[in-house]
């Protein structure tokens, strides 16, 4: 395997470069996926049937906590990649671990939030609005859950094999994914929660 040392390790081979490009294209598809969910949300937002509306059920405190947790985790995964480029495996793993813990905390608050919605009468079957709200949030939450499992797998591989051409490539791609989830959350925060609370 030819490794090009003029590039960061994650870009070191042709296959690595293709993996990263491929993942960017996949993120393009993900933008369409969430774009469709948002378009459907805006269409169904006011179609609440006999159920509650967004303004009735949104609570600002858990939303702020979730936002804080996820935005911080995006910062720490950035630090992890920075440490990886410096070749500092221990620092990298620490920041990677913090990222996943923050992600897990985010997920816990989101699960609480879901219980809250069902409790106040906005279940999956209540109305078109409640269904698209829970589906949009749930799709994002499912992405975070998948990310937690994926990230855990990468940590185990780095512990076992060190920072190699493959593990750095995977870590970098994971960081792209994690930043993307953060970007989606910013849209959820602005166009679902803030818009709904106004």
């Amino acid at each position: 395997m030819k490794i090009d040392h003029s590039q960061p390790l994650e870009y070191g081979t042709e296959q690595n470069k293709m993996n990263i490009l491929g993942f960017w294209i996949f993120l393009g598809a993900e933008i369409m996926l969430f774009g469709t969910l948002f378009a459907s949300y805006f269409t169904l937002e006011n179609r609440i049937g006999s159920g509650p509306s967004g303004a009735d059920i949104f609570e600002i405190t858990p939303i702020i906590i979730e936002t804080f947790l996820l935005l911080t985790s995006s910062f720490t995964i950035g630090l992890a990649i920075h440490a990886m480029r410096l070749g500092r495996q221990k620092a990298m793993l620490t920041f990677f671990g913090i990222t996943l813990v923050l992600g897990l905390a985010f997920l816990s608050v989101e699960i609480y939030e879901f219980f809250h919605y069902v409790h106040v009468g906005a279940g999956l079957q209540t109305s078109a609005f409640s269904a698209i709200l829970l589906t949009t949030l749930g799709t994002h939450g499912a992405h975070v859950t998948f990310g937690l499992l994926w990230g855990l797998g990468i940590i185990l591989q780095i512990k076992k094999r060190g920072l190699t051409v493959e593990t750095t490539n995977k870590s970098f791609i994971f960081s792209l994914y994690w930043h993307f989830l953060d970007v989606v959350w910013i849209f959820i925060f602005s166009f679902i929660y803030l818009k709904g609370l106004m």
């Binding site: 598809a29 369409m32 459907s40 049937g49 999956l124 209540t126 078109a128 609005f129 589906t135």
Partner: protein, 649 residues
């Protein structure tokens, strides 16, 4: 016994029982045959675990031909039912199921794998690559498609087929009006196939952007590769919309949500919009590679370079953008109002402009060319006039005011068959005949091939032209019968005869494959058509590493340059070649997806969760696996090249 009742057919008939027996016997015959001839190991090693783009292409091809047979039988049954007024061959329910599955099978399980088959086989060869960017992902794409197609097809004998049309509009497709599991099959099987298609899209974009031979800039790519690139961009942006629409439809049906229902705020038109935001680009996903094939074939057999290369590329880019801006024309009559309809009317008609540019470019390529009328060229020549008729009637349908007259009549059915058949099916048959020698090392018989081409063209015209007339007279589509007093009988009888001619044409193609496999000479060399692009610069059939030496090119017609202008394609000497290793995981994972899909369709939640865990186990296995492929040594390359009849380069 209550548990098993859900798997029963809701509306059985002797034909369905006969198919059950036939399917059972076929499965037993395949298993017995493989065991008797001791071919299990061969099948597993050489096909089920392969990651070679050429073999995956061939498997896509075989699947597409099988599905063509299934969709074709559906078509014959429909035309037989309508051949005479008041016919009782099929009842309303069966007719509904048959036109639904005909549409889905032909679009998603025949046309899609057919274009992906040719892209898989041809694109890496045309750009001088060893394989695609992600060979194992490519295998996963195929097996997901394959198992999804199998899942969809068993609906016929287990639980009942979908019956709400291939567009599956809500509220008709909701639980209230479609209570049996048929529409679940639709939602889940298409979802699984769609995942595979999305992966194909990503895979080919990266392949084309990153793996071209030295010297091949974007504007020096062969036209089929260009069409594949643009098609895959459309796939990546259109399929996620379908993913969400199907997920919402699934939730409506399985979990009682109210996305598309008519109560509790649900909005049935949201489905129609989402479906066509995907569905219209899908039409161009099918037609653009077809245009690419025609460009290759026409330039090869006019013995001329393609006229207007840049305008060909530009028109495809414009078509791909416009394809996302016309979806409302599928439901002008569903109450958007005059203003919205007018906008979509204009965008629809605007698409005719870049398409027209392409037609004129082909005509100018023929101008002063030394035309050789081979079978692929014959398909291309038959395509231009028939497709133009289909296209012009599309512009008629695109005028929203006039559409109120045509909507949901046989006029529409005539229109879209007369674009899809000459546009896509002729192109696939042309491509099949054109690249057949590269795939299998012998040519299809030209005489039988031309007979088939003429029969299919004549059959298409006889089958679908009468529908323009009966449609304008008011015959609605999707009606399972009509009375004698309507006067539709004559036109439908003509269509039935046309369908029969088409069927004979397809049977001839199958016979041609049999005949040529038996009798055709294997001594055809690498370039039997005197073609122009890189895929003809390597041996037929192609060795697993494609090119012993990576070619260097300086135009879109590298082989022609070598033949006529003294360009040297292969410089340097043999080097060790790195190849990806085989894997059974894509097959196993897709098989588990099949079980998962089946469990979802019948709401077997425990099985669904267990199979989902199985899918995750496959993902984890892949992540932790260390696989660096293997190398083919210089000695092996020399031996292969010598055996193939002289070194290339």
């Amino acid at each position: 016994m209550e548990f098993f009742e859900r798997f029963a057919i809701p509306h059985p008939s002797p034909a369905i029982y006969a198919s059950m027996v036939a399917i059972g016997l076929t499965v037993i015959a395949i298993i017995a045959g493989l065991t008797y001839f001791k071919k299990w190991g061969y099948i597993w090693r050489e096909w089920l675990t392969t990651v070679d783009h050429k073999r995956i292409g061939i498997m896509y091809l075989i699947s597409a031909l099988l599905m063509l047979f299934r969709g074709g039988v559906d078509a014959i049954m429909m035309r037989s039912q309508l051949a005479v007024p008041g016919n009782t061959l099929l009842d309303a329910q069966h007719y509904n199921e048959i036109f639904t599955t005909h549409g889905i099978v032909m679009i998603l399980f025949m046309a899609m794998p057919f274009i992906i088959a040719l892209m898989n086989f041809v694109v890496p060869l045309q750009i001088g690559a060893r394989d695609v960017a992600f060979p194992r992902l490519n295998a996963l794409s195929f097996w997901l498609f394959f198992f999804a197609a199998m899942l969809f097809n068993i609906s016929f004998v287990v639980g009942g087929s979908p019956d709400a049309g291939w567009t599956s509009y809500f509220p008709l497709a909701g639980n209230e009006h479609s209570p049996h599991v048929g529409t679940n099959y639709y939602m889940i099987a298409i979802q699984i196939a769609g995942l595979g298609t999305l992966m194909t899209g990503i895979n080919f974009i990266v392949t084309i952007l990153k793996m071209r031979a030295p010297g091949m800039t974007l504007m020096k790519m062969p036209m089929f590769t260009w069409s594949a690139l643009i098609t895959n961009v459309i796939i990546v942006f259109a399929f996620p919309v379908l993913t969400i629409a199907l997920a919402m439809g699934t939730m409506d049906r399985l979990f009682g949500t109210h996305f598309f229902s008519i109560d509790n705020g649900g909005m049935d038109m949201l489905w129609a919009n989402l479906f066509w935001v995907w569905g219209h680009p899908e039409v161009y996903i099918l037609i653009l590679p077809a245009f690419g094939i025609y460009s290759e074939v026409i330039s090869t057999f006019a013995r001329r370079n393609l006229y207007g290369y840049k305008s060909m590329v530009a028109s495809m880019v414009i078509i791909s953008l416009f394809s996302f801006l016309v979806w409302v024309h599928h439901f002008f009559t569903m109450g958007q109002g005059a203003f919205v309809n007018s906008i979509f009317s204009v965008t629809t008609m605007a698409i005719a402009v870049p398409t027209g540019i392409k037609i004129f470019n082909w005509l100018f390529t023929l101008w002063k060319g030394k035309i050789v009328m081979t079978t692929p060229m014959l398909y291309s020549m038959l395509f231009i006039p028939i497709f133009t008729i289909g296209g012009v009637t599309g512009v008629m349908l695109g005028m929203s005011a006039a559409d109120y007259q045509y909507h949901n009549t046989m006029f529409l059915v005539a229109h879209f068959h007369l674009v899809i058949i000459p546009g896509v099916v002729f192109a696939m048959l042309a491509g099949l005949t054109y690249w057949w020698p590269k795939m299998f090392g012998f040519m299809l018989n030209e005489r039988i091939g031309k007979w088939a081409a003429w029969l299919i063209a004549v059959g298409t015209c006889v089958a679908f032209f009468p529908m323009f007339i009966s449609g304008l007279d008011g015959q609605a589509r999707r009606m399972y019968t009509y009375s004698e007093a309507t006067g539709f009988g004559f036109w439908n009888m003509l269509s039935f005869i046309g369908a029969g001619i088409l069927a004979i044409g397809f049977v001839l193609i199958v016979y041609n494959i049999y005949y040529s496999t038996r009798y055709a000479t294997r001594d055809i060399g690498a370039d039997p058509w005197d073609a122009r692009t890189l895929e003809w610069a390597t041996h037929s059939p192609v060795p697993e590493y494609n090119f012993a030496i990576t070619p260097e090119v300086n135009s879109s017609e590298a082989l022609w340059d070598e033949k006529k202008k003294g360009h040297k394609l292969f410089k340097g000497s043999y080097q060790e070649i790195h190849m990806p290793s085989k894997s059974g995981v894509p097959f196993i994972m897709s098989a588990i997806f099949f079980v998962f899909g089946f469990a979802m369709i019948f709401s077997l939640w425990i099985l669904a969760i267990v199979s989902l865990l199985g899918i995750f186990a496959c993902l984890i296995h892949r992540s932790f696996e260390q696989d660096h492929g293997y190398h083919i040594s210089v000695k092996e390359i020399e031996e292969t090249e010598a055996k193939m009849g002289g070194a290339k380069g």
